[in-house]
Symmetry: C2
DNA sequence: TTATTTGTTACGGTAAGTGTAACAAATTAT
DNA sequence: ATAATTTGTTACACTTACCGTAACAAATAA
């Protein structure tokens, strides 16, 4: 699952949970509402649960519900919870490239550059809370 | 071919051309030096040629050479020449999503957000010239 | 004990990315 | 003119990633 898909799916689910709060909601219900398979959604929600963003409970009265206030949940936090890899990942073909060659040095250069870009993106995401998204959406 | 691969390959080739300047170099020679297939490289270089970054000539004495000064070639320019799509592209599954629903609104929200991020990245790339990359590489 | 829900794994189908080959068109050398 | 070289482009097999779905053990409540 791609990073952007995971991120948007997460926010859709979290918005749904915010509306239902404090009632817990099952993955099936959320999945049907946002148009995704419930297994895939559970995969995402379980990661959010491990990172303390949502609470999950098994059983008849189980389901998911928000564990933090929307104003305290930021995009960067969500992103880190669901994705270990970076959004940008450079091709570093160590095969067929000589040590200390120009191509290798350029690979390192782009590795650094993309890491920097990645940091910029994460900084931006830190400034966006779930609450701000919900407010913006409601004004449309 | 992914955007990051195209970009790094382009810069590798351009650095090679800068070193050989003003002698034209064949795609085979560059391809061997940077470890890529010559057909794929020609695909990239032809796009750079269409955008006035390099000059291409057929025939025995043909090949590629820089058409602009390294200080006048910027990453953003290269990126635009080789890639029409954006680096980030959101999943907008219009199927199974109702009109004016929360998920649809959130899709639009992320579409806007990612477009903004994209602009930030391009702004950053505008500040990086081929010359600055070459200087940085040579100091390592 | 039964029913419900999470958490996780697996699998087939589809799309994207990679590496290579091939060949027409253009240009130069002989 | 003819041959050789190089670009520009297309095609193809192979691999990898992605997407949608199903399945089932573990946990929990009725």
């Amino acid at each position: 699952m791609s990073a952007s898909t995971k991120l948007s799916t997460s926010v859709k689910a979290l918005c749904y949970l915010e509306r239902a709060y404090p009632k817990p909601v099952s993955s099936s219900e959320i999945a049907a509402a946002i148009g995704i398979n419930s297994s895939k959604l559970r995969m995402i929600l379980s990661m959010l649960a491990k990172n303390g963003i949502v609470e999950s409970n098994s059983g008849t009265t189980g389901g998911f519900k928000l564990k933090k206030q929307p104003s305290d949940i930021h995009l960067q936090e969500i992103y880190c919870a669901i994705e270990d890899r970076k959004a940008f990942h450079l091709d570093v073909r160590k095969d067929s490239i000589k040590k200390n060659s120009l191509p290798e040095k350029l690979n390192f250069y782009f590795l650094d550059l993309f890491a920097e870009v990645q940091e910029n993106i994460e900084d931006k995401m830190k400034t966006i809370s779930l609450e701000s998204i919900i407010k913006k959406i409601n004004n449309n």
